[in-house]
């Protein structure tokens, strides 16, 4: 359905092919969160991997910083329609994290859990084989609190609400349990290329 009098600003072809449907490019870095920004002191920061209620492994900040570090440049896509291209992150891939603790995933799903009681669900397969990291640096500097620092999940191939800010751990779950936004109208998987924004999107 053509909108009378609307011509818009079609991006250049090289940008357009990197933008999923309904997205526009921003050079800014918008901030979205369900509530106030938590300020997490590094001295009391811990990252824990749980199988349900049972802890499998845990790291303090210095221990986490000693894990193998990986740098990525990726495009990120927020469900609120903005995309930001060529963002650079440093952190620990989920592959390296699990290997360091000698963990074989005990189930096919997990919840990423945050310091502000936020959580979001993901298939474990989407975090492995170089697809996700716990990021601690953005553009070469510590991640600002508003953007999820000290540490956030980075799963760039899914809408960015899946990349939980202020992450404190991963909890393997027997089933695919809906997280915070997934219980409030947003899609269980969230593939931007299939425009899976809301619950009933195909």
């Amino acid at each position: 359905m053509t909108t009378r009098g609307f011509f818009g600003r079609r991006p250049s072809d090289d940008i357009a092919q990197r933008l999923p449907p309904g997205q526009y490019e921003t050079k800014d870095f918008p901030v979205l969160a369900k509530g106030p920004t938590p300020h997490v002191a590094l001295a009391r920061w811990r990252f824990t991997v749980n199988d349900g209620p049972r802890p499998l492994a845990s790291w303090s900040w210095p221990e986490f910083e000693a894990l193998p570090q990986t740098v990525w440049r990726r495009d990120i896509h927020c469900v609120t329609k903005w995309s930001k291209l060529d963002t650079t992150w440093r952190g620990v891939t989920i592959d390296d994290l699990l290997q360091a603790a000698d963990i074989t995933p005990p189930s096919a799903y997990l919840l990423a859990q945050s310091h502000d009681d936020y959580d979001t669900n993901l298939p474990v397969a989407d975090l492995l084989n170089g697809q996700a990291m716990i990021a601690t640096r953005f553009a070469g500097a510590p991640i600002a609190a508003e953007h999820g620092g000290p540490a956030r999940l980075l799963v760039p191939h899914l809408y960015f609400w899946k990349s939980a800010k202020w992450i404190r751990g991963l909890r393997f779950t027997a089933r695919d349990e809906a997280g915070f936004w997934e219980q409030r109208g947003y899609h269980m998987y969230g593939d931007p290329w299939r425009e899976q924004r809301y619950t009933n999107d195909p």
């Binding site: 359905m1 918008p30 509530g35 106030p36 920004t37 809301y198 619950t199």
Partner: protein, 250 residues
Amino acid sequence: MTLDAPFAAQTRWQVAVIDRIISRTPRVISVFLRVSLGPKVAGQHVDVRLTAPDGYQAERSYSIASAPGTEGIELAIERLEDGEVSAYFHEVARPGDTIEVRGPIGGHFIWRAEDGGPILLIAGGSGIVPLVAIVRDWSAAEPKTPVLLAYSARTWEELVFRDELLNTQAHQSNFIFIVTTTRGPRHRPEDFDRRLDQSLLREVLARWGRTARDVYVCGSNVFVEAVTAGLVLEGVSPGRVRTERFGGKN
């Protein structure tokens, strides 16, 4: 997994007819749409989609200003500098034109009568839009619940829905409406002319004399960061504070 309404968004794109467009402030218009959406809750938004002749499409989200019971929906749209979709609404759109919308969407930044109160609403600039929907719904459904609305704008002229909110205050004894203007003089003795920082929040909360059950803060990210940091320092539980933000980090 399918969730019950209202949290399951109505995701089908629908044709909406622009019924009327009115000026709210020098930079904000209200666009009234004729469209039949599913059940609505105050605070929700819709997605809007525009299509160019060559097939190019632009999508944006806009908060719904009208109360849930209203027929059709009202969107209040600020003219953004360099805005692609807001420029269309401000310069091109006219009654009778059609656009596509889907929604209502959102199960977090919402208020329903059964949520009760007291309710603390804090708006910066065009962040008033989802909050005016809450005020309108509250006024119709639950006016015994105490509400404080603190609204910060650059000037008195830029307060969207100003006269309506003043009128609500005149007729609803449980509604406290406090304005602060950051680039212009205050107009009423009870208002302020400085930023809504921790000290001003303390003053405002003391005047209200209530403890909010739920707090809703909407505005630019810079505004929301400053307000929520102040609220938390004033002892408000972060878990009671819902935010909706636009724009980035300075």
